[in-house]
Subunit: 479 residues, 2 copies
């Protein structure tokens, strides 16, 4: 201490006490005590700090301990060097910096209210956790992460895990007759991300895209957000009508089962749609979101299978057919467009989490995915039948539903008597208040007077739950 | 057969033969044979199909078998009903529809060329799969999916799994002194998705955002894509300079360790930055992408911890600190902005896959995440030291690096002698040709004459690999 004047800084520094038996290294203890003194004002802003040699001598520590500590204080902004004059406490440390001395005050982190995890009755496309193959899936995830071959924690292919892209190509060949190579398959993370990838890879910004009306609302919102023109075209009993379609860069269609009305586009109209694409050099995105869930008959050939113009893209998802938890889907892209998709993904990085991709590939290759789909088909088909019966039992004269060949929901129409009393939006609101989820068909339309109806999901609920929810709904609509 | 005229249609139909012992139901066999006859032209387009009663009688099957089959053909577009006249084969089935008869032709699905999965030397922020806790992580994933409490295959909270949001709040409190509630934490799927969420929740479209120059390229590309104005501001040895910042809606900064130069923003400048935010009512996003990897000294207080204006958001990621495979990150949002983020996520759906979220929460809560970070810190710190030594051993007079307090890469400067011969871009190109990944610092700049330098990642490579790669690089740069 004797070597420098005993200023307030020196007095404070004299109070430093280092614990050689302490857990923290000496330089950490020194930094911490100096920082506290600066923050508490015991060492005044602008004050000169002792030279390292003298300081080390006084403290009885090595000089490296002192210089390490001083370097840290400089890095943190508490001290600054002035050329040839040594180190000084920073001159301006406004009051707000004192807040950090409050780190040790108790702070209580409150748990989140977990709420209800099971879906509410009639939620469309809901999954029933009681039917999910938890044990099998847990085992596959574990094996994939243990297995040296699939240990890919070091990197991630932006286009998707190779084994999954291969499994998807095989699945689409077996289930839908598609003839695509794994290199044409791009793994995506759900509809929103897939739409963004399409916008960039196809250069859609500033161009028009035709959407079905009614249709899947996410497409319209994502496209509009990114400066793409959206042209809604009304759907009739055969789906989108190519005769009503003018020129556009792309049309997004759900020919297998229109979303949300459930109608199937007949073969003749599919061919007309391909002719429209030829006429305008336009692209088509075939959204085959739940074609695995078909309970009767064989599905029609896909557009991409019918096309010989390399202008049809195909989109699928594991959200409906397996679980939405994965956030995994895929795009199949014609050969001439592959390079453009690869380019966007290289720049942006992968869309999808790689955690589940090897396990999902194994689930598919081993045939267990097909077994799972077949099992869910039987369950969902029975639930659809149960819903039809429960609607006729409880809601006769109010709502009408017809059995459909596939899907995870039915679209109910309002009886004339009910329509006279309320709109589908009003029914939907009443249902929400009673703890039911019953989306209004008109809310899926861009047109101001959209089709009236209600989406009644059945996939997530057993026969008893569906019947009881129908009884509840009847109570809300009668009077 | 006698009941209707023996046209070519009738002749073909007479050839139908159903196998009562076959595996396929009779109506499926019937549909399939009729479809083949139509596609092969044996039943002519436009021809009348027999009435169901007569047809059933002739085939010796129930009438329901025939009507089910006919309904399917109508749904597929192969047949159509004419009012009061019965069913007819569709009149127009152009040649393209015949393609689907090729389903049975052999089609070979070729495996994807798997290529190299380990990262190439000097790849910044690379992960070393040899150090990843595969067994432990595999077990956690399995347990999370087996455990009934975390079985959430039925739904997914758009803001993230509650247990993970809680674990992140605790982690940030313990490691960074943050005082946030789990409800302020939003789980994201990497930088691109987080940026999109910010753009929508903060209404950034049409406004200006200040970015560090040089900086993380993904921010600029994502913002520009979505119609946000980007204002690059040069970084000096203390990071972003608030004195050079005009009005903007948001500034994105990396105060802990600037990306990619590694400089730390001193306390005084942090306070100036908060004053800028107060002056312009502007928001700040603090990107704390790898602050866990600090090898010496304690980190400075975070901006969000210093701020008392509720205008600082905080972003973190598990890509650097755990594995990029997860594609999981998070945003911490001031209380007044929480509702707006929740709203966007409800509309768009969750950003991140839920597969790993419960397991990651468990990894964090059990303390194993902290153990993993500490272990990696020791390894990375030693690798940084090894890189410094290897550069001085092999690249003396060509490149210069200095040890840094944290991070996963060092930024090398070109010696005067090397600079005279080539730019950082040319070094980077030569390196790429030799199988090294050595990004040019100037490529991170919006300015035409950006800082010259090279990013040398060390996290993914052991001491021997780093030394050998330095020797290779020396060979490329000498002469």
């Amino acid at each position: 201490m004797s070597k420098f004047n005993m200023s307030t800084t020196d007095a404070a520094i004299a109070a430093i006490s280092l614990d050689r038996a302490g857990a923290a290294p000496l330089h950490v203890q020194l930094t911490s005590q100096l920082r506290d003194m600066i923050l508490s004002g015991r060492i005044a802003p602008g004050g000169r700090l002792p030279g390292s040699r003298a300081f080390a001598g006084d403290l009885g520590v090595s000089r490296i301990t002192v210089t390490t500590s001083m370097d840290q204080l400089v890095a943190e902004g508490f001290a600054e060097g002035r050329h040839g004059k040594g180190l000084f406490v920073a001159p301006h440390l406004p009051d707000t910096s004192l807040k950090i001395t409050g780190y040790d005050e108790p702070f209580e982190i409150r748990p989140i209210d977990k709420g209800r995890s099971a879906p509410l009755p009639f939620q469309p496309a809901a999954h029933d956790a009681r039917l999910f193959p938890h044990q099998e899936w847990a085992k596959l995830l574990e094996q994939a992460w243990r297995n040296a071959d699939t240990r890919t924690a070091s990197g991630i292919d932006p286009s998707g895990h190779p084994a999954l892209r291969e499994a998807i190509a095989h699945h689409l060949h077996e289930w839908r007759g598609l003839r695509c190579q794994p290199t044409q398959v791009f793994v995506t993370a759900g509809g929103g991300d897939a739409t963004q990838l399409l916008i960039r890879a196809l250069g859609l910004a500033g161009h028009d895209v035709i959407l079905e009306d009614p249709g899947y609302p996410l497409f319209a919102s994502e496209l509009l957000q990114q400066g793409v023109g959206v042209v809604p075209v009304a759907v009739d009993v055969d789906g989108l009508d190519p005769a009503a379609m003018s020129e556009a860069r792309l049309a997004i269609v759900t020919p297998s089962r229109h979303y949300p009305t459930g109608v199937t586009m007949p073969l003749a109209r599919r061919l007309d749609l391909l002719a429209w694409s030829d006429r305008h050099q336009a692209l088509i995105l075939e959204d085959d979101f739940d074609s695995e869930y078909r309970y009767r008959g064989t599905p029609l050939p896909t557009l991409i299978g019918l096309a010989d113009n390399e202008r049809v893209l195909y989109m699928g998802s594991f959200s409906k057919v397996f679980t939405p938890q994965l956030r995994l889907g895929y795009l199949v892209v014609p050969e001439p467009l592959v390079a453009s998709f690869e380019q966007v993904l290289r720049e942006r990085g992968p869309l999808a989490s790689a955690v589940a991709q090897p396990a999902l590939a194994q689930f598919m290759v081993s045939g267990r995915f097909a077994t799972h789909i077949r099992r869910m088909r039987r369950v969902y088909s029975a639930r659809q039948q149960a819903l039809v019966e429960s609607v006729s039992r409880h809601l006769s004269g109010l709502l009408e539903v017809q059995a459909e060949a596939g899907g995870m929901h039915l679209t109910a129409t309002l009886s004339a008597a009910l329509s006279a009393r309320m709109s589908d939006t009003e029914v939907s609101q009443r249902a929400t208040e009673a703890g039911l989820v019953l989306p209004a068909l008109s809310s899926y339309s861009a047109a101001s007077a959209g089709l009236q109806g209600l989406l009644m999901g059945y996939s997530g609920f057993d026969e008893t739950e569906l019947d009881s929810a129908c009884a509840t709904l009847a109570g809300l609509l009668q009077m």
